[in-house]
Symmetry: C2
Subunit: 415 residues, 2 copies
C-alpha cells in the first residue's frame, strides 16, 4: 500500500488552474540529490549532495542557532567532522536580520561556513513563545523576544527569509505543538500544516523561478532545496495522511516534525517506525529536533537519515557529558581528583588533553573554556556515533551495533 | 657604575651564620637558562630555557588565571605560537587548591599544558582586595573572594604554593601598591619587599634542597626557577636601591613590578629605562603586568625581555580589538555591514574567516564564540608583534620598526 495511495492533500487541490506546480511531484534542485549507497534492514547509508558539498548519512547536524555553534569555532567543527549545520531562521531574521545577511551574500558567506547549511522555518521557536504569539490561517503573529516588536511569520515569509539566508536546505513553515493527546487539535494542526506547505512550496518555486525578485526578495542560493514536514502528533492515521499529502505536494525531501516534544521515547520510536516508510525511499528523511544518542540509533533503525538537536551542545554548557557508558555530570564531587578522560575510548581533543578533574575545575570556576571543551567532546561523541552507525550499515552489522550500543549506554545511570 | 656597586641589601645580611645562601648570588636551576642571541641598542633577542622548553624572547605571556587562558583552548594557544603562559597563584590556591594540583602531578599535568608556565606570587591579587586584607611584616591576611574564608599569604607560603604548582618560573611575594607619589610609603613597601624576598628565597632554596619535604610540601618541578621583583614606585633612587639589593639576594632572574598601576605611560617608560640596566645583562628581564602593544615596543627598547598582561584577553571579551591601526570597538554600528576582517594585514584565524559584520553580530548576540574569536585575534596580534620585534632586533632594524609601529598605532583613534 505504501506510497501508492492517492493522498487527500493531492485530491483537494486537483483542478485548480493556479496550482499546476503541485503536479511537479518530482521537481528537484539541480544541485541537490540523495543516493542510498547501502542498506541494512530499514537502516540506510547514503550521500546527500547540496550546493555546498556532500553530506554522508546518516548524519547529525550541530545546531548553530545564531549563525554559530555555541562555544566552538568553525575550525573545531570541521576537525570533528561536522558536514552540515543548522541555522535558526527565527533568531537570524530578528538579529542581525535576513536582509542584512542577504546583503552580505547569504548565510554561508556571512558566517564564513563554506559547507552545507540547513535552516528551519522559524516556526518551532515562534510556537514556543507561549503568550506572545497568535496563530491564524494566515500565519503566526508574535512579539520579538529581543525588543517586543510585532512580527509575523507566514509560509511565504518563511520561504522569503530562507531565500535571503540562502541555506542549502530550507524547511516549510509548519504548525508545531505539544503532543497533548487531543486528536481533533492534532488533526487541525496537521491539516493547517498541509495548507501552509502548499503555500510555502508555491512561494519557494516562485522565488526559484525568479518571480520573487519582483517582491525584492534576494535569492542568495539558487540551488536551495525545500523540505516538507510531516505532522500528526502520535496518531498513526494522521501521520499516514500527512505523509501521503505532503509527498503529493512534492518537495526535494521530507522531515518528520512534532516529535521529541514530551512523548515517551518508545512512543516516538513507534511513530517514526510507521511514518518513515511512508516517505519516498529515494529521498533523505530528516527527524527534526531528535535526540539522545539512543534516539539516533533507534531512528536510524527505522529508516531516518538526518538529525538535529541542541542536546549535545546545550548539555555541554551545563556540564553534562555523553559517553559510551551513559551521561556524566562533571560537577559531581567524585570527579574532583579523577585523572581519567571523560570517556576512555574517546579520541576527541578534550579526552586526549583534559582530565575529569580539570574539566570539573574549569566548570566550577566558570571558565568559558569549560563550555568549549565540553561541547567539543559531546559533538565529537555524536558525530562519532554517526560514523559508527554508517560503518555498521555498510558492513551489515547494524543490529549488532545497535544492541551493543543500547546495552553499554543504558548499563547504569552514571552522573 | 651599573652592576658594580655593592648593594645595600647584600651588606645588611653579611655575617649572619644562617644566611649563607645569600652569598650564592649566581645559583641557577640546572634546567633554567637565558642566552642573549642578538642586541640592537638596548633591545635584546634571546632564548629562555626552562624545564618545559625554550621560549624565544622578547616574549609575551598570555594570562591563564585559573589554569586556562579564557575563551580559547591550549591547541589554539599553540597554533598562535604562545610558548609560555602565566598562572595566578591566588586563584589556583583557592580553587581547586595547590595541594589538589600537586596530587595531580603539578599544574602542567593538571591543565594539560606541556610547555613553560610562570606563576605569580599571588600578591598582586591579594593587595587588590581592598578592605579584605591586612598587611603585616609576616605577610598578608585576607579573605577569599569565593567564600570569605580567612587566608594568609606569606613569602614562605607563596614559595610553598608555587612549589606544589610546579611552575617553571615562580615569583617571590612582593608588596604591591598604587603609585601614589608618597615616597615614604613607597620606601616602606620597597624595603618590606626586600625582606620578604630574602625570606622567599630562603624558603625556595630549602624546598629545592629537599628540606621542604619535612613540612609536607610536594615539589612537583625540581627545576623550578624563582625571580626576584624590583619595587620602588616611580622613584629613581628607590628603584636603583631595590634593583641592587634584589640582585644581591641572587635569583635566577629579575622582574620589574609595581608599574602600569595608574602612572602615565611616559613615567612608566622612564622608570623602566633606568631600572632595566640595573638588572644583570645575562638574566632575562620581566616587566610585570604590562601592557599595551606600544608599551611592549617601548619596554623592549629599554631592555625588557618578558611581559604579561590581561589586556589582549580581557579587551577581547569586551569587544575591543587590537589592530596595526589602533583599537577597534566591534560593538560600533559602523561595522554592522563591514565585510572586511578586523585587521586587513592580520593572518590570524579570525581575520581569515570572520568579517567585522559577523564578529559584531556574535558579540551583540552574546555568543561565546565572540569571546573566542576576539581572543584569538588579540593574542595573535600581541604574539605577532613580539615576532616582529624579535626579527627587527636580529636584523638591527628595531628603531625603524619602533618608529613605524608607533606612527601606525597612534595615527588616529579608531573605535
Amino acid at each position: 500500500m505504501r506510497d501508492a495511495a492517492v493522498p487527500a492533500g493531492r485530491r483537494s487541490t486537483r483542478g485548480r488552474p493556479d496550482t499546476s506546480y503541485l503536479n511537479i511531484v518530482n521537481v528537484t534542485s539541480t544541485a541537490f540529490g540523495f543516493r542510498v549507497t547501502a542498506v541494512d534492514g530499514a537502516a540506510r547509508r547514503g550521500e546527500l549532495t547540496t550546493p555546498h558539498g556532500v553530506v554522508q548519512t546518516p548524519a547529525f547536524m550541530p545546531v548553530g542557532t545564531q549563525g554559530a555553534v555555541k562555544a566552538i569555532t568553525h575550525a573545531d567543527l570541521e576537525r570533528i567532522g561536522a558536514e552540515l549545520v543548522l541555522g535558526n531562521t527565527y533568531h537570524l531574521c530578528l538579529r542581525p536580520g535576513d536582509a542584512l545577511i542577504a546583503r552580505r551574500g547569504g548565510l554561508h558567506r556571512f558566517i564564513g561556513w563554506p559547507h552545507p547549511i540547513l535552516t528551519d522555518s522559524g516556526g518551532y521557536q515562534v510556537f514556543s513563545l507561549a503568550g506572545r504569539r497568535t496563530v491564524s490561517e494566515e500565519g503566526v503573529a508574535f512579539r520579538s523576544h529581543l525588543d517586543g516588536s510585532p512580527q509575523q511569520l507566514t509560509p511565504e515569509r518563511a520561504a522569503d527569509i530562507q531565500a535571503r539566508l540562502g541555506s542549502d536546505i530550507a524547511m516549510v513553515l509548519d504548525e508545531c505543538g505539544a503532543n497533548t493527546g487531543d486528536e481533533a487539535r492534532a488533526r487541525d494542526a496537521m491539516e493547517r500544516t498541509l495548507r501552509w506547505a502548499r503555500r510555502g512550496r508555491r512561494r519557494f518555486l516562485a522565488l526559484r523561478d525568479g518571480a520573487g525578485a519582483a517582491d525584492g526578495v534576494a535569492v542568495t542560493n539558487p540551488g536551495q532545496a525545500q523540505f516538507g514536514i510531516v505532522q500528526g502528533s502520535v496518531s498513526r492515521a494522521l501521520r499516514e495522511e500527512s505523509a501521503a499529502a505532503t509527498v503529493a505536494i512534492g518537495f526535494e525531501a521530507y522531515a518528520i516534525g512534532g516529535l521529541s516534544v514530551g512523548e515517551p521515547p518508545d512512543v516516538m520510536y513507534e511513530v517514526v517506525g510507521y511514518t518513515a516508510p511512508r516517505l519516498p525511499a529515494d529521498r533523505v528523511r530528516y527527524l527534526m529536533g531528535v535526540g539522545t544518542p539512543l534516539d539516533l540509533v533507534e531512528a536510524v533503525a527505522r529508516g531516518v537519515d538526518l538529525f538535529d538537536c541542541v542536546l549535545p551542545t546545550r548539555n555541554a554548557r551545563n556540564g553534562q557529558l555523553f559517553t559510551r557508558a551513559g551521561r556524566l555530570n562533571i560537577k559531581n564531587a567524585r570527579y574532583a581528583e579523577d585523572d581519567r578522560p571523560v570517556d576512555e575510548e574517546c579520541a576527541c581533543y578534550t579526552c586526549r588533553h583534559a582530565s575529569r578533574a580539570y574539566l570539573r575545575h574549569l566548570f566550577l570556576a566558570g571558565e568559558i573554556g569549560a563550555a568549549s571543551l565540553n561541547t567539543l567532546h559531546n559533538l565529537h561523541f555524536y558525530l562519532d556515533t554517526m560514523r559508527r552507525i554508517r560503518n555498521a550499515i555498510v558492513f551489515k552489522s547494524f543490529e549488532t551495533f545497535r544492541a551493543a550500543f543500547r546495552e553499554a549506554y543504558t548499563a547504569r545511570p552514571r552522573d
